[in-house]
Amino acid sequence: MELLFFYIFAAVILGSAVMMVTRRNMVHAVVWMVITFIGVASLYILLEAEFLAAVQILVYTGGIVVLFLFVIMLVNLGDIYQVEWLHRQWLPALLLALLLVTEIGFMVWVGAQDVPAAPEQSEAILRGLGGNVETLGMALYTDFLLPFEVASMLLLVAMIGAIYLAKKRV
């Protein structure tokens, strides 16, 4: 049953992602992106990470997509529609991509057969940690404290960098 749902969600994610990158209308692309994000959130729910799913919906489908729409509305994107969206090298690119997908797909498919299944996280352990939010919080501020802090610097650089490059006069 869980497997069935996984395949459904995976199909939704992949399908909408393909639709997203092939749309010529930016607003349509963003709407397809929303569906991708919702698919990812469903995967989180399947993994019983409800909090992460809620954050995914709130931040990505809520915040990020609205920002995207703002940018599309504010910036004049008229020229984009004139650009050839199919690259001149699309045929070799497609063939190479297919080759890569088959190769990696084969290796992952065969390889996954004899990988030991992940140990079942027992309900008791999760409950002992105090549920979803607490578990995530504990993990972030203990085991992953350093990457968490470095990630905050990463966001700072991204922000300052974007402002610096976008501003006309510094």
């Binding site: 990696i104 084969f106 290796m107 992952v108 065969v110 390889g111 996954a112 004899d114 990988v115 030991p116 992940a118 940690l129 105090g130 504990m138 203990t142 085991d143 992953f144 404290l145 350093l146 990457p147 470095v150 990630a151 610097m153 990463l154 700072l156 650089v157 991204a158 300052i160 960098g161 610096y164 490059l165 510094v170």
Partner: protein
């Protein structure tokens, strides 16, 4: 759950990182004051001070490094390998600050943000080179990469700089995604993200020939080959290095490359060491392609920045040769080979920074002089600049008595000792090819008549960078024993 699991020792262990992060934030906050922005040299001084303080913290950590303790829940290790690379990043940052000041003034782009990005890049490199867990390793790598993308596109008025920054960003983001994919497959197969944890699982479960592992290995190798600019993942490098501002190229051809090599060595020699039979030949082929293509492409360049960019690709190939040699099972030979790579990177730091700072010295009609013909008659114009450039080029070409010669000799010896004689032969042939284009610059500099609209701009900080690079290139080639001892010590805890 228990109490907060960290102690003061954890903070002490990452003191250099904390100092650099604080310095970066201070630059940013101080740079928000309008009146302070008018004196950009103060920010350069603050950056230098930060780097020096971080270096002091690093030196004070050195005595404990031999124990190889891990900190912050096993994310960071304090070992002499990490300290060696941290020292390279700090040295490169200090020298790059010296080379940047006048250049940015002349291009009307001397803002505090430049130093903020540089310090953040250094922070990312420090975290990268000392991480022993894929999570912190990746976050550090991204911090470094993101800062460097902005630095490459830093000259907003310059179309070439914009283009270079954008290209680097897109391709870099792509390679990071490939790296993540590799890491996730590795996690799926082994259930661990710690480098030594992965090795133990591979050995315990006999996963060497497992398909998932091989897919992960190939993806990780591709991503790291991109980060060190190895063929066939090098196409971004000539554009990024020649399009970006010269002092930025000076910084990233050395520091970013060294950081990527630190990650490459740690990942392949610790986490993936049981799979050495799979990756040694792969990396050997990449090394041959990188050396040969880098050198042959450099032959035809008329732009000195592009030539040096291809030369830096070729040098990544020589260093990769040492990584291949380190795949040998004999621990002594392996440690010798790692020491060779470290020494090579150390020598490369100074000779490459030196060559790029001579490029930063030259102006044609007020802007950077990049064409080979701009260098015509440099010898008659400034004897010192000519002598310095000659030294750096000879060192890059591997002529004694320079650091570059010893680095090459060390790497070739290690390669032969580990039984990769054919690889060493390819390396020697490539060295001969590379001499052609290095000497071509020398000939242009000494033979031709000087052009009228080319000038040398003198500034004390740039001169100091040059003097430091000259001294170290000579010193590491002549008075070798302390440096050799240092790199030998830095390999202790790796294999």
């Amino acid at each position: 759950m228990g109490s907060f699991p960290f102690s003061l020792a954890d903070l002490e262990a990452i003191a250099p990182e904390i100092i650099v992060a604080l310095g970066a934030c201070l630059v940013l906050v101080w740079g928000a004051i309008e009146s302070a922005r008018k004196r950009p040299r103060h920010f350069a001084a603050l950056t230098l001070l930060t780097v020096i303080l971080a270096a002091v913290a690093l030196v004070s950590l050195a005595p404990e490094a031999s124990e190889g303790n891990t900190y912050l829940a096993g994310m960071i290790v304090l070992d002499s390998f990490g300290i060696f690379f941290s020292a390279i990043f700090l040295i490169a940052a200090a020298l790059a600050v010296g080379a940047s000041m006048r250049f940015l003034d002349d291009h009307d782009a001397h803002h505090p943000e430049f130093y903020f990005f540089m310090l953040c890049a250094v922070l990312g490199m420090l975290v990268m080179s000392r991480s022993i867990n894929f999570i912190s390793l990746f976050v550090g790598l991204e911090l470094q990469a993101l800062s460097v993308y902005v630095m490459v596109g830093y000259l907003k008025a310059d179309k070439k700089s914009n283009e270079a920054g954008l290209k680097y960003l897109i391709l870099g983001g792509f390679s990071s995604a490939i790296f993540l994919y590799g890491i996730s497959l590795l996690y799926a197969a082994t259930g661990s993200l710690a480098l030594d944890g992965i090795r133990e699982v591979i050995l315990a479960e006999g996963l060497q020939d497992q398909y998932l592992m091989i897919a992960a290995l190939v993806l990780i190798a591709a991503a790291l080959a991109f980060k060190v600019a190895a063929v066939p993942f090098h196409v971004w490098a000539p554009d990024a290095y020649s399009g970006g501002p010269t002092p930025v190229s000076l910084f990233i051809t050395v520091a970013s490359k060294a950081a990527a090599f630190a990650v490459l060595l740690r990942v392949f020699l610790i986490a993936l060491s049981p799979m050495r039979d799979s990756w040694s030949l792969l990396l050997a082929v990449v090394a041959v392609a990188t050396m040969s293509l880098g050198n042959i492409a450099a032959l035809t360049q008329d732009n000195i920045k592009r030539m040096l960019a291809y030369s830096s690709i070729a040098h990544a190939g020589y260093a990769l040769m040492g990584v291949v040699a380190a795949s040998t099972v004999d621990p002594d030979d392996a440690s010798f080979a790692v020491a060779a790579v470290l020494y090579y990177l150390f020598a490369y730091t100074f000779m490459n920074i030196g060559a790029w700072s001579v490029v930063a010295l030259l102006r044609r009609r007020g802007l950077a002089g990049e064409k080979l013909e701009d260098y015509a008659g440099l010898a008659s114009r400034s004897y010192w600049a000519f002598a310095a450039m000659l030294l750096f080029l000879l060192s890059l070409g591997g002529i004694p008595p320079t650091a570059g010669f010893l680095g090459k000799w060390y790497v070739f010896t290690a390669t032969i000792q580990s039984g990769w004689t054919w690889l060493a032969v390819v390396g020697v042939v490539n060295t001969a090819i590379s001499l052609y284009y290095y000497l071509r610059i020398v000939i242009v500099m000494s033979m031709s008549e000087p052009a009228d609209d080319v000038e040398l701009v003198h500034s004390t900080p740039l001169t100091m960078t040059l003097v430091a690079a000259v001294l170290m290139t000579l010193l590491a080639g002549i008075w070798v024993s302390p440096f050799i001892e240092w790199v030998r010590g830095a390999t202790l805890l790796l294999s």
